[in-house]
């Protein structure tokens, strides 16, 4: 059965970013499933009043705010919940006060919606901690998917230089400083030269080489992934300030070329990276030596790790899976 579906999003082209990419992939998946889809790109809250919701059978909200503040029937809503948007904390005082006052109403909104799709169990549990009651039919955990059509297995051996990339915004919870420290320790432990490519210019190291790539274009970002041996994402859980890593999209972006990831144990990252399969989870409680020993084993079987990473990313995180899910939930 096919009917009209509206996708509401606060982020869309020409602006780039995780939500824009997700929206594009979701819309493509809907079109592949033969749904008649419109996109409503809202920039301010008042835009939501202009939505002609009567035309649509279902409304998929890339950010729940549209469904919460929109004046249509709650049961039309399918909400995609990525991460920190469901926290009731924020550095912005007004936003924080608003969320605190309307916490129960926001939670009720999710409970009245037709479906809630959480990109990680960690994200769902954040909402549960706030008082949300799970319905295991309505509330689905579905890990991120990406367009893997341009993915390609790249067999890139490690010679005498370990190339690592870290493609993130330079914000405190992304913990670039922590990534540099860990790679410095790794370089000394394995007696191996390490080069870290960053898209930020303010970091330096006397132990590893920092390659700065300011304002990466789409093409150069893909090239950076292809030539890297590891992707690193050591994000911290800054939930109390309103930030954590919902899933870690860059691990999939790197994975579609077979590049394994090094991640922290926080947020949705351990649900994304599986020790020994598509990378390694750094557990700070176990210490750096434990990490170095484990990554040594991974490097010892590097070409298999790349193969496993590629296959896992393509098979389990390709957009075709999102299409299958949408067919079920719609």
């Amino acid at each position: 059965m096919s009917f009209k579906v509206l996708v509401t999003t606060p982020d869309y082209l020409p602006r780039k970013g995780g939500l824009t990419t997700y929206t594009i992939d979701l819309v493509e998946a809907l079109r592949e499933a033969n749904y008649d889809v419109d996109i409503y790109h809202w920039k301010k809250i008042s835009d939501l009043k202009l939505i002609k919701h009567q035309r649509y059978e279902k409304i998929i909200n890339i950010n729940y705010t549209a469904g919460y503040l929109g004046d249509w029937d709650r049961s039309k809503n399918i909400n995609i919940i990525h991460g920190s948007e469901i926290l009731f904390h924020s550095n912005n005082l007004l936003k924080k006060i608003y969320k605190k006052i309307f916490k129960r109403r926001i939670i009720t909104f999710f409970e009245k919606s037709q479906r809630n799709i959480f990109i990680s169990e960690f994200t769902r549990n954040k909402l549960v901690d706030a008082g949300f009651k799970i319905d295991y039919f309505r509330d689905i955990i579905f890990h991120n998917c990406i367009n893997t059509n341009n993915g390609e297995f790249v067999n890139n051996d490690i010679g005498d230089l370990l190339k690592v990339c870290c493609v993130v915004r330079d914000t405190p919870h992304k913990n670039i400083h922590g990534a540099i420290s860990l790679l410095e320790e790794l370089s000394e432990y394995l007696n191996l030269k390490v080069q870290l490519s960053l898209n930020s210019e303010r970091y330096s190291s006397s132990i590893i080489t920092i390659k700065k790539n300011h304002d990466l274009s789409d093409v150069s970002r893909e090239e950076l992934y292809r030539e890297s041996h590891f992707n690193i994402l050591l994000s911290l859980d800054h939930s109390s300030s309103g930030y954590y890593e919902g899933f870690g999209l860059t691990c999939l972006e790197a994975g579609k070329y077979g590049v394994p990831s090094i991640v922290s144990r926080f947020g949705g990252l351990p649900e994304n990276v599986h020790d020994g399969l598509n990378g390694i989870v750094f557990d700070d409680r176990q210490g750096v030596d434990d990490f170095c020993e484990r990554i040594k084993i991974l490097i010892g079987d590097y070409s298999n790790t790349r193969k496993n990473t590629y296959e896992h990313t393509i098979n389990s995180h390709g957009r075709h899976n999102l299409k299958k899910l949408l067919e079920v939930v719609l």
């Binding site: 579905f142 389990s316 899910l325």
Partner: protein, 382 residues
């Protein structure tokens, strides 16, 4: 003859109860007395009592009324702490005489463990085996249990885990110098292998109580997403064996009702309710063990090996100790596509046979581990 008091954790015949009843057959020269808690009516324990009688004809069976508020805190949080404390104190004194009768007491779980440990603080000169059937919990009142070990007056204490993963966790939480830690894998009843090839398609089974952490909903969503591919590969049915057996609150509540909504008229899913393990494994070709949280042991994993059934598992926690690369397919929680691929792979009969052969070897390893433990236990209780 010396007396061994066995304090069972629940009136229902679950995995932990089956295990202890079977394991105690290894102990010779002791008069066994079983203590079974019940919540409202003694009839709750009827299935368990029959099972004990069929295995230990000479054992005494005693039923004890267990405060229901105390029972419910194992899997859910509660705000009625003062009321629970009062029930606990009364229950501690109620148990007192029953404990003192024995030379050795065997505690088969944490719900019954808390009042017994409190009793042991008041004085008990025998030996105690504290059998952990789950990871030592840090939730609710249970976080205090592990501290109680410092104050108990038992002569010797053995904390027995059902996997090395559980033992490791227990060692980090129970800090008392003269406690001995050990592990004995749960016993598995002998099972006959399924004979012959299915002519009309492959039957997949999940054998588990209906609880969210068992991950049944993730299999249901996988089936809804990939039904066409699964049918095309030759899968005829996905049977779910089990029920909501715990009278606990919290995330368990409504789970069964929620997941039944996944099933429509074209679904491959069949909810079969509670069925004996031998019957389950004679009906299925492949067992899926989709737990989303670390399992202390993973009884069905060992049962799959014993019954020569191909296995797909998340292998989290202690259950991972039972899995080598070639005796099961490992899947990742919430990886619906990965589960679908594993199910389709298992439709190949020769591949299933390879898994079963490796599973047989692992089954022997499990039995050897158990034999070694019972030799050590004889020295402990002597």
């Amino acid at each position: 003859m010396k007396g061994l008091g066995v304090f069972i954790n629940s009136p229902y015949l679950g995995g932990a109860e089956r295990s202890i009843i079977s394991q105690l057959k290894e102990i010779q020269g002791y008069k066994l007395s079983f203590y079974i808690p019940f919540l409202l009516e003694e009839s709750e324990a009827s299935e368990l009592i029959s099972h004990i009688k069929s295995h230990h004809a000479n054992g005494d069976i005693n039923l004890i009324k267990f405060p229901s508020s105390l029972y419910k805190i194992s899997r859910s949080q509660t705000k009625k702490i003062p009321f629970i404390l009062l029930s606990l104190i009364l229950f501690v004194f109620h148990l007192r005489e029953n404990i003192r009768k024995h030379d050795v007491i065997w505690v088969n779980g944490n719900k019954i463990g808390l009042p017994i440990l409190l009793n042991l603080i008041l004085g008990f000169k025998g030996k105690m085996v504290y059998h952990l059937r789950d990871y030592p919990s840090k939730d609710s009142l249970f976080k205090y249990i592990w501290r109680l070990f410092r104050y108990i007056k038992a002569e010797e204490v053995l904390v027995l885990a059902n996997s090395y993963d559980v033992q490791k966790k227990a060692e980090s939480m129970i800090l008392r110098s003269n406690v001995v830690f050990d592990t004995c894998y749960n016993p598995i009843d002998a099972m006959t292998a399924k004979n012959g090839k299915q002519e009309d398609g492959i039957v997949i089974g999940i054998a588990s109580m209906l609880a969210p952490w068992k991950g049944i909903h993730s299999v249901l969503l996988c089936e809804a997403m990939y039904r066409f591919e699964l049918v095309a590969a030759g899968i005829r049915a996905i049977n779910i064996y089990g029920d909501d057996i715990y009278a606990t609150e919290g995330e368990n509540k409504n789970y069964k009702k929620d997941i039944l909504k996944f099933v429509d008229q074209d679904s491959l899913i069949n909810f079969k309710g509670r069925v004996a393990p031998q019957k389950i494994f004679s009906d299925i070709d492949v067992l899926v063990h989709p737990s989303l949280k670390p399992e202390p042991f993973g009884r069905v994993v060992a049962e799959a090996y014993e019954s020569q059934t191909a296995l797909i598992t998340t292998g989290l926690g202690g259950s991972g100790e039972l899995i080598l690369d070639d005796c099961a397919i490992r899947i990742i929680p919430y990886d619906y596509s990965g589960l679908k691929d594993a199910l389709i792979r298992c439709c190949d009969e020769s591949f299933r046979k390879e898994l079963v052969q490796s599973g047989n070897k692992m089954s022997q390893n499990i039995k050897e581990q158990q034999r070694d433990f019972w030799k050590r236990l004889e020295r402990f209780i002597a």
